[in-house]
Structures are given as structure tokens and as C-alpha cells.
Amino acid sequence: MAETMDTAALAEVLDPRIIVTGLEAKGKEDVFRDLADRLEAARYVADADSFIDAIHEREQQGATGIGGYVAIPHGRSDTVKRNGVAVAVLKDEIPWESLDDTGAKVVVLFAVGSDDEGSKRHLQLLSLFARRLAKADVVKSLIAATDVDQVKAALLND
């Protein structure tokens, strides 16, 4: 797979309206609320509350903290009108169930609709983000990001 093509495609998905840095949160619920509201305001989801319910459903199935201070909660729901990825870089680490017992400093929230028609390409893009988050250097730059441009750079650079 050509990396340059990936990067162009990923850039298209990264929407500054649903990226936040320096977020002050006491726990995961604060992060869900902030990002769900942003997703609603940017019309990715029709109803933030329903979307938070969908996130909770996934949270109950097991840890979404993938280690290295990164959490990737996700919700799949009819309320998602447009697939998207919201990113919160947190001011301080918060508790989060994770694979390596670290908390979360970065939360990458995937919003995915229930309707598969026409969304396959978009889902492919989301899968590219998941792959990026497997890279230690990507995670390191992401945690250090202090503005939206740095978040984008962290996720787009190889």
C-alpha cells in the first residue's frame, strides 16, 4: 500500500472541529461528553446522548486503553450519520482501563454508523488510524501535541 496515498486519505478524515488539545477532564465520562458534543455540533452524530450509550456498550466488553497512555473507545450506532474520528489530547492523565495499567493521555474516539452501505471506504480510513496508533513514535508525538496542527502532523507523519 502506498504510504503517500494513505496520508492524503487520512488528511481528508482529520477534521479540526472534532480534535481538541489540552482538554481538562476528570475521567472518561468527561471526555465522552466533550467529544460526543463536538461530534453532534459538527453533525457526525444526530444525538450525543445516544452516541455515548453506544460507547458505553463497547466499554463494557473490555478495556479500550491499548497501552502507552492511549485509549480508543468507539461507538457504533444509528445515530452516527457520518463516520469520523475525534481526538482529545488531555491536559492530565486520567484513569482508564488499559492493557498495560496506564491511564489515558490521548483519547481517539471512532464514530461509526450502523449502515454499511457506502461507508466502506471511510471505514478503511479509520482502520488506517488504528494501524498508526500501533506505532510508538506516532503515540509519542500525539501525547505531546498542543494544538490541532500538531495532532494532525502526529497522525499523518510516518
Partner: protein, 103 residues
Amino acid sequence: MKIVGVTACTIGIAHTYLAQQKLQDAAEAAGDQIKIETQGTIGIENALTDEDIAGADVVILAVDIKIADEDRFKGKKVVRVSTDTAIKSPNKLIEKLHEIVSK
């Protein structure tokens, strides 16, 4: 060493692909050849061919759900773990595959 495998998680959006990348990076760091098929929401990607499977020394299944066509791996050495294990300790897992193959 040649490794093939499949990753698949319950929702099929994130862990499937994270596990794939972690396994690929760990195997390449260990000097192995690896090909990992993903079975996610978008269907099957990077599908393993019959030749891939025939040529593999070992099969790694990092899966949280029942996967499609598991009987392809009949007769091969198969190691099954959760996607969490592949994401958390990919290097250890590749080491374990080496042990199993050298037995």
C-alpha cells in the same frame, strides 16, 4: 520464519487493525516474514492465499470472535490468542511462535 495469521475483534473497527500492525512490526523486527489477514467491519482484507498458508511455518490467530474459514489452517501449527495479547505483548508473542516452530 514465515508467519501467517488473522486478526479479528468484536466490533471490527480498531483492535483488529492495531493487532495486525503490532504483529507485523514485531515480526519484522525479529527478521520474520509475516502476512496478517484482517476480518473486520469492512470485511476481509489482505486475504491469505492457499500459497501463503502452505508456505507458513506457523499460524497466529489473534481473534476475539469466530472467524471465517478457520479450517484453512487444519494441519498447521496454530497459536490462538486474543487481540489484546497481540497488542500488549507482540514481541513476546513472536518469540513464542519461534519456540513453537523450533520444537
